[in-house]
């Protein structure tokens, strides 16, 4: 029930409503909980609302970090991902 789906903001409308693209499907959602969202932002959608603006660069960076984790001398190496 707490599923949230990534979508891209395509068009900002009035009353903090916006059209978003979810894997090629257009939906109208509210951006009232994510005042920083703008056209082109990636957002997480839940129950008709954007609940988070996703930092795409940060996501890529975390993924690269996981790949680099190694077990060193019997102890897990530090990771900041």
């Amino acid at each position: 029930m707490c599923l949230a789906i990534p979508a891209r903001v395509v068009l900002m409308n009035e009353n903090q409503m916006a059209e978003v693209d979810i894997h090629g499907v257009t939906r109208t959602v509210s951006l009232s909980l994510t005042p920083d969202a703008e056209t082109g932002s990636w957002v997480l959608i839940h129950a008709g609302f954007a609940i988070q603006v996703v930092d795409e660069e940060f996501a890529k960076e975390s993924w690269e970090l996981i790949k680099q984790i190694e077990w060193v001398d019997g102890d897990p190496a530090e990771v900041s991902a």
Binding site: M1, C2, P35, F49, I51, W63, I69
Partner: protein, 364 residues
């Protein structure tokens, strides 16, 4: 982003993380995922089978549909009997049995029950049906509560006095404290719910680590996310640490979503809530504030459902606390299947029993 999502399903990365987990797990470890979406991800991607034998992944009370008490479902059903009422709900709630019936059965019997995708759709329904009373069944954790707060604020702003909410929301952190204090449960670490954490951030869980020395990691929902969360927990336990960390930084910021939290605080106040299988946990409910009493269905309608009763033989309550595995219930896979569900944990697509039944061979 689609490419990015694919990146979080990389089998090579999965294997790398499983190797790390295996090395870190130097003793038997019981981890609990407290989110129904995690329960489904773990079952669907077969992650339980990838774990070394000394790591047990248990499902907890993280499906809002499943933890809704019979008493609350009975009240929603009773409201459908009130003249002029349209009950609007998320689809997940339709088939959930209360003590005597379900919303689906009531709909089949001619009551006006409608499924909406967003609580704002229920507000619009009230605007479209000025002669009816639209009641929205407010179920969900911190992830969903801001959307329902916005629905009440929107109805107030539009002056819609034929809209109201039956609030049976629940909040997560204090429920985890109840589990930590339960001697039957004995959890070593929590896989914390990703999208609840999107709203509340890591801070509200901190007391679990500091007071009880139980670590937690807020985790995402792709296989790599879940394995990373398990690894971070195993690593903390290996090192004797207990901290609250985030393995899902693309979805959870250090402060969560303060705007969403402000909307919750504006409309709701903490209250006691009854959880199926656990009982009443003080402070884990969200009651509508007196300023918004006009949109509170519990106050608007004077209905008293018959006393609740439990479903004979159903062990959903024990499953939700992680003390009974779904396939250990006598009904699982025999009398109780997704096609003919008996208890909420099999009804809800995110229930532990449904996830075990659909995606694994356990108990067959």
């Amino acid at each position: 982003m689609t490419d990015l999502q694919a990146a979080w399903r990389d089998p090579e990365l999965d294997k790398h993380l499983v190797d790390l987990i295996t090395q870190a797990a130097d003793r038997p470890i019981k981890l609990m995922e407290v989110c129904g979406t995690h329960t489904v991800a773990i079952a669907r991607f077969g992650l339980r089978d990838l774990m070394p034998p000394n790591i047990a992944l248990l499902s907890g009370p993280g499906c809002p549909v499943c933890v809704t008490a019979n008493r609350d479902i009975d009240l929603a059903i009773e409201l459908t009997h009130v003249d002029g009422v349209v009950l609007a709900t998320f689809g997940d709630m339709m088939k959930v049995p209360g003590s005597y019936s379900s919303l689906q059965r009531e709909k089949a019997d001619g009551r006006d029950v409608r499924i909406v995708y967003s609580p704002l759709d229920a507000v619009q329904l009230a605007a479209d049906l000025p002669d009816r009373q639209v009641v929205f069944l407010g179920v969900g954790f911190e992830t969903t509560a801001p959307a329902i707060a916005m629905a009440i604020l929107t109805a107030a702003q539009r002056g819609l006095d034929n809209f109201s909410v039956l609030s049976v929301h629940k909040t997560v952190p204090l429920a985890l404290e109840a589990l930590v204090n339960d001697p039957e449960v004995a959890i070593d670490g929590f896989i914390l719910p990703g999208h609840v954490s999107t709203i509340i951030g890591p801070e509200p869980y901190r007391f679990l680590a500091e007071r009880y020395h139980v670590p937690g990691v807020a985790t995402g929902f792709e296989p790599v996310d879940v394995l990373q969360g398990v690894w971070m927990l195993a690593k903390q336990l290996h090192e004797g640490r207990a901290e609250i960390e985030v393995a899902y930084r693309r979805g959870v910021s250090a402060d969560g979503n303060p705007t969403a939290r402000a909307r919750i605080a504006e409309v709701f106040e903490p209250s006691d809530a009854e959880w199926r299988g656990i009982g009443v946990i003080p402070g884990t409910g969200l009651a509508i504030r007196p300023e918004f009493a006009a949109w509170d269905a519990a106050l608007r309608f004077d209905v008293t459902p018959p006393p609740p009763k439990e479903i004979p033989g159903c062990q959903c309550g024990e499953v939700l606390r992680g003390v009974t595995l779904p396939f250990e219930c006598k009904l699982f896979g025999r009398a109780c299947t997704p096609e003919h569900p008996i208890g909420p944990c099999m009804v809800s697509s995110e229930g532990s029993c449904a996830a075990y039944y659909r995606y694994t061979d356990y108990g067959r």
